[in-house]
Amino acid sequence: MYKFLLCLRYLRTRYLAFVCIVSVMLGVATLIVVNSVMAGFSTKLKDRFRGLHTDVTIESPNMNGFSTPAAELKEKILNSRAGEFIEAMTETVEVFGMATFELYLQSGGSEPITMPVQVIGIDPEARAKLGGFAQYLTTPSRREKPSFELDPKALARWHHLHPPVDIPEHKPLIPGAPPLPDPPRDPVKPMGCFPGFAITHYRSTDPVTGAVNHKPLLLMGDSIRIVTASATKRLEPVYADFAIADSIQTEIPEYDRGFFWVKLEDLQTIRGMPGRCSHIHIRLKDYSKNKEAVEALREIFPDEREAIVQTWEDKNRTLLDAIDTERGILNLLLFMIVGVAGFSVLAVFSMIVREKTRDIGILKSLGASDRGVMSIFLGYGLLLGGLGAGLGIALGLTIVHYINPIEQFLSKNTGVGFDRRVYYFEELPTHVQPEMVALVTIGALLISVLFSVLPALRAAMLKPVRALRYE
């Protein structure tokens, strides 16, 4: 009983104890903030990767795609053992190409802009069923039922930019001959496309406020020419003009700069591969069974030179592993910081034990046991660790909650901050994992107790007579 009383009293009267609490608090808060931000990054990245790459992909290593028609392939898959794992499936044509468009300058002239892109031909509705696509469309109304149709305003712009070619009135060469029929006057229907957000927008930094915002470079209805290769035996350049129907913003600059989504049939026609595809994307019913599903699919496509079957994780293995490694190392380093906090507990405790030597003698003369004295100091360590951890959790979670305002404040005032040109996201993503918080707390408590063991033992071992004489 006296142990509790003394623990609490020592806490209240030793200002030194607050050093311990603060050091544990800072350690715990740092661990929580760093872990939450890293987990936020990795969760968001994984979410995007999984969405964009879909659960499982069957990919043809041949640039011309599978020779078998897509419908046949899909049927083969569905009728096989793998069919039971599949919730949705869609074929795509994915090929590299170049996008080029005219940029109209303020001076009045224009400048052609050309950039490399990954052209992805999709069936928008079927692709939307696989997830990780429709929600990234910039225009919210399109997300419900995505299609490459241009909205009326965009269509009007397109027509304005592409006026129907005026065919001069037909004059028969031979007088009296009957007139030829009129050429079709129906306006040509443009092929819609979804370029990545970073293709159609540019980032501008306000010179006064430093705020970063996106300004459109191209408007909906503007046209972009895509140059790519034909899917014939002999590689031949092919090209077509597309009208911008919408853009896709995944917040991953690599994809926002590099992906160019068009209609599957359009791309098949341009490349001369009607009915064929280069990729089959699959969404599984239960992702935890991905290994079995991949195995079953490999039974249909045994030859790696013919088709590569991969999960999204396999495809992004290097990056995902790098993130995990980075996180592991960072945690190790940060845990050392908590270890340093542990040493401050040790130092402060040694001082307190020294300061309290006479009290220990008094307690022993009053009949306190060695274990009792030891548990005072162990309990004290636990109390300091507990308080430090509690405050650390509160501080850490608060920082995590306000991480973006804090980051903005810091980068505005110190210039140190989250560089949006380097990182993938507009805002610092965070993800607080309860098990991580629990682990950090237990670790901090353990360290505080471990580091108070030594001084506590010293206190317990003190001979009462020597302790009493201690001045």
Partner: protein, 253 residues
């Protein structure tokens, strides 16, 4: 009440052996107030610590009643100190973080678990209040040691020593840090407690004037009781014949 047979103890400083107790025989009668006087370094404090189980002798035996207590396990020795012995020290040795009341209750707190404390707390609090009133500190219950005078602190320490109703009170220079008036008060208080509560008291002091008030005085020098009389009893004390007015008869029990 307490009997010590042939106690020896020496300290080792580097390679030198410093004998502190050199064959001490002592018998303390129940209800007796015994003073040990002697110059500093004569081993009187060590003797008190050894008898009070705070320290161990190198050889010899100590009995409490019929039980040998020098060989008890540390747990049982802790219990003896908690229940049967009370200690008063020269520097009061109160816990600075606690109030007078809490200091007095400390042995009660140490001796009880969380549950038994809950059961006994009213009783212990009542006894602590009574004791503090008894030593004249009824108005100082919630003061911290630093807010009290030396005499008050020592009286608090006496109340603390008495809380568990001990059989024996060990007082190590209880007046060493006090002025003459306060010292006198403390000794008179001890005397009263000794008479009223029949507590056996062993006091170590170098103040002969104050020792006079006890039942019996023995003198120690160089780790031994000074042989002052040829007819020294085999077990026990040496009357201080060289200071005639201090020679008091041993109480007849």
């Amino acid at each position: 009440m307490i009997r010590a047979v042939n106690l020896t103890k020496s300290y080792h400083r580097h390679k030198h052996v410093v004998p502190v107790l050199q064959g001490i025989d002592l018998e303390l009668q129940p209800g007796e107030f015994l003073s040990i006087v002697g110059a500093s370094g004569s081993g009187k404090s060590t003797l008190l610590h050894v008898l009070g189980t705070l320290d161990k002798a190198d050889s010899g035996m100590i009995f409490f009643g019929d039980e040998r207590i020098d060989q008890l396990s540390s747990k049982e020795r802790d219990r003896y100190r908690n229940e049967k012995f009370g200690f008063i020290f020269q520097f009061y040795h109160l816990l600075p973080e606690l109030s007078a009341m809490e200091n007095v209750m400390m042995p009660g707190l140490i001796g009880s678990s969380l549950f038994s404390w809950w059961q006994k707390r009213k009783q212990i609090k009542k006894r602590a209040t009574e004791l503090l009133e008894r030593v004249g500190l009824g108005h100082r219950l919630h003061h911290k040691p630093r807010e009290m005078s030396g005499g008050e602190m020592q009286r608090t320490a006496i109340a603390r020593a008495l809380i568990a109703s001990p059989k024996v009170l060990f007082a190590d220079e209880p007046t060493g840090n006090l002025d003459a008036e306060a010292a006198d008060e403390i000794i008179r208080l001890l005397r009263e407690i000794n008479r009223e509560e029949r507590v056996t008291i062993l006091m170590v002091t170098h103040n002969l004037e104050l020792a006079r008030l006890s039942d019996r005085v023995v003198k120690m020098s160089s780790g031994k009781f000074s042989p002052l009389s040829v007819n020294a009893p085999p077990l026990g004390y040496q009357p201080l014949n060289d200071i005639p007015h201090l020679c008091l008869p041993a109480p007849q029990v």
